[in-house]
């Protein structure tokens, strides 16, 4: 049996990729800063979309770890360095969250007292939807996520499969994480995205954004697994499992999207329909259809084929489609209240999105290089490596599973 973690990605490849990603995100940051003076509202719109993408991808790491621990999954233990590397982008997302606070007035209607004062509904909501409380909540969310993620990552690094105490610790940490994550993510997605349309609400909205987080996070994880697995250590069967997970998350995304749409369509209430009318007319309608196609229908149909599910090249291509689909999805969720009837995607909107997604992959690949290297070295933090070297066949049932 090979080491219990993926080996680090090819050093030369990692270095050159990180360098080019640094250039991309640096250039994007420069454009964003320039945009703050030239076209502030458009730059902030792009920043919000990029920030949601970055936060979702970073949180997908601990969320994935938690769900794998809670379901007692053993097949994925060797791949856990990937969600841990994704979680490393969370501090960067927190910093970007603090930057977002500066853009509140360019983004959110409810932050303008002139509008709130003449609007009874917004006045009634103003004790919750106001800039200071918004900022406090943002800090609380990120503090909770950072602390819970740190605990989860530490447990994942240190635990072994065959130690019952470790298994219990994994389970407990994951359960606590999920209990903390569910309410904070609900409130955060209402704060950051839903409150762009402050008159509208949907009780399933947090699930819609969670499905997006899941589908994009899984796609990013697959891209990172393939990037790290340049020697072909991951078996076709394991790729098949990853592909099946992506397929089910694509189905979940479509299911949740439709669950929200169906109820609004069916009841046809004047306070609910405007949100969809804005997103289903003009070019926005095309983009909505494109997001449904890329996040759900197309990858689901392709992944039904076992041959594609088990092929790393096909999986990466499908995952990239899903990631693009998720960006379109975020664009459609956030766009209409910010841009009006016609979608705008010029350099001011695109630069922050590209820059923040590049920042995510930059941090994650760097993390993959470090955690994977740390695991193969017999230095202090590797309790797991030392213990498994001392007792190579302590877990016969897991060690003897044929590698096919």
């Amino acid at each position: 049996m090979t080491s219990s973690f993926l080996r680090p990605p090819d050093a030369r490849w990692a270095r050159s990729t990180i360098t080019s990603l640094k250039w991309v995100s640096g250039l994007a940051a420069a454009i964003f800063v320039a945009g703050l003076f030239i076209a502030p509202q458009r730059s902030w719109s792009g920043f919000l979309i990029g920030f949601m993408a970055l936060t979702g991808l970073a949180l997908a790491g601990p969320v994935g770890l938690a769900f794998l621990s809670l379901s007692g999954a053993r097949w994925s233990r060797r791949l856990e360095s990937v969600p841990r590397a994704m979680a490393r982008a969370l501090p960067a997302a927190a910093v970007m969250g603090l930057v977002l606070v500066a853009g509140v007035h360019s983004l959110y209607e409810w932050s303008h007292s002139a509008i709130v004062d003449i609007d009874p509904i917004l006045t009634a909501k103003s004790s919750y939807l106001n800039a200071p409380f918004f900022s406090v909540r943002l800090v609380v969310f990120f503090t909770v996520w950072l602390l819970a993620t740190r605990a989860l990552v530490r447990v994942s690094e240190q635990s072994r499969d065959d130690a019952p105490g470790d298994r219990h610790r994994r389970l407990r940490t994951a359960a606590i994480f999920v209990l903390l994550f569910a309410p904070t993510w609900s409130l955060a997605s209402i704060d950051w995205l839903q409150s762009l349309d402050p008159h509208w609400f949907s009780t399933i909205y947090a699930l819609v954004t969670l499905a997006g987080l899941g589908v994009a996070g899984m796609a990013a994880a697959i891209v990172l697994v393939v990037a790290a697995d340049r020697r072909g250590e991951v078996t076709a069967a394991q790729y098949g499992d990853l592909g099946a997970l992506l397929m089910s998350l694509c189905l979940f995304w479509g299911y949740i999207w439709y669950s929200q749409y169906l109820l609004v369509w069916y009841t046809n209430l004047p306070e609910e329909t405007p949100w969809y009318i804005a997103r289903l007319s003009n070019e926005w309608g095309l983009l909505t259809k494109l997001s449904c196609l890329l996040c759900s229908a197309l990858p689901f149909a392709l992944l039904l084929f076992r041959r594609l599910r088990r092929s790393r090249t096909a999986l990466v291509r499908i995952s990239v489609l899903v990631l693009i689909g998720r960006l379109v999805d975020l664009y459609v969720l956030a766009g209409p209240p910010l841009m009006g009837e016609t979608p705008r995607a010029g350099v001011w909107e695109l630069a922050p999105v590209v820059g923040l997604v590049a920042l995510f992959f930059l941090v994650a690949i760097e993390g993959l290089r470090r955690t994977a290297m740390g695991a193969t070295r017999p230095s202090p933090p590797s309790v797991a490596t030392a213990a498994s070297a001392a007792a190579p066949s302590a877990a016969p049932s897991s060690a003897a599973v044929p590698a096919a």
Binding site: Y258, L262, Y266, L304, R306, S397, A400, V401, P402, A404
Partner: protein, 177 residues
């Protein structure tokens, strides 16, 4: 026509898998493996060809989808149209949940009935269990010698090497299976 088959019993999954590899290497034809619980990846080792059940699953799913859409269309726009909240009679969004459920139901039923039919597990039939203890704590390997390429002594040696706790030969007549 009859053939001789050989059954060897093991006490653990690992020994069984080892014996499985060894007997394939020695040129024996592996007929079956029996274990108290499913062993991950064993079907690849036995050399069972890929299942065609997914095709039955897909066909069932498409049939369920088509039937559900057709039936809802027929009831709500042809046979007994009712105005519900001013929606058009033929309202595809409203049909989607039932169509989704029926797709899953038919796909599931097609898979399970396809499995029962193909494996011959119909009412009144019982499977061949070579040794009752495989339902408890024994693992059985069932092999045959294709053209007597392996001699009796070689076979006995193989069972000894792989740690079989028991082995026995059965002469099977046509129609026994």
């Amino acid at each position: 026509m009859s053939r001789r088959i050989h059954v060897a019993l093991y006490t653990s999954e690992e020994k069984l898998l080892g014996a499985l590899r060894a007997s394939r290497k020695a040129g024996l034809t592996v007929l079956d493996v029996m274990s108290p619980y499913p062993i991950h990846g064993v079907d690849d080792l036995v050399g069972i060809p890929r299942s065609r059940l997914p095709a039955a699953c897909l066909a069932g799913g498409l049939l369920g989808l088509g039937l559900a859409l057709w039936f809802q269309y027929w009831t709500s726009s042809v046979d007994w149209p009712i105005d519900v909240g001013g929606k058009p009679w033929n309202s595809l969004p409203a049909f989607a949940p039932v169509a989704f459920e029926m797709t899953i139901l038919f796909a599931g039923l097609a898979t399970i009935f396809g499995l029962l039919l193909r494996s011959g597990m119909l009412p009144g039939r019982s499977g061949v269990i070579r040794d009752l203890r495989v339902t408890d704590d024994r693992f059985a390997l069932v092999v045959t010698r294709p053209d007597a390429a392996v001699t009796d002594t070689e076979l006995a040696q193989l069972w000894r090497d792989t740690g079989a706790v028991e082995h026995r030969d059965i002469v099977e007549r046509e129609g026994d299976r």
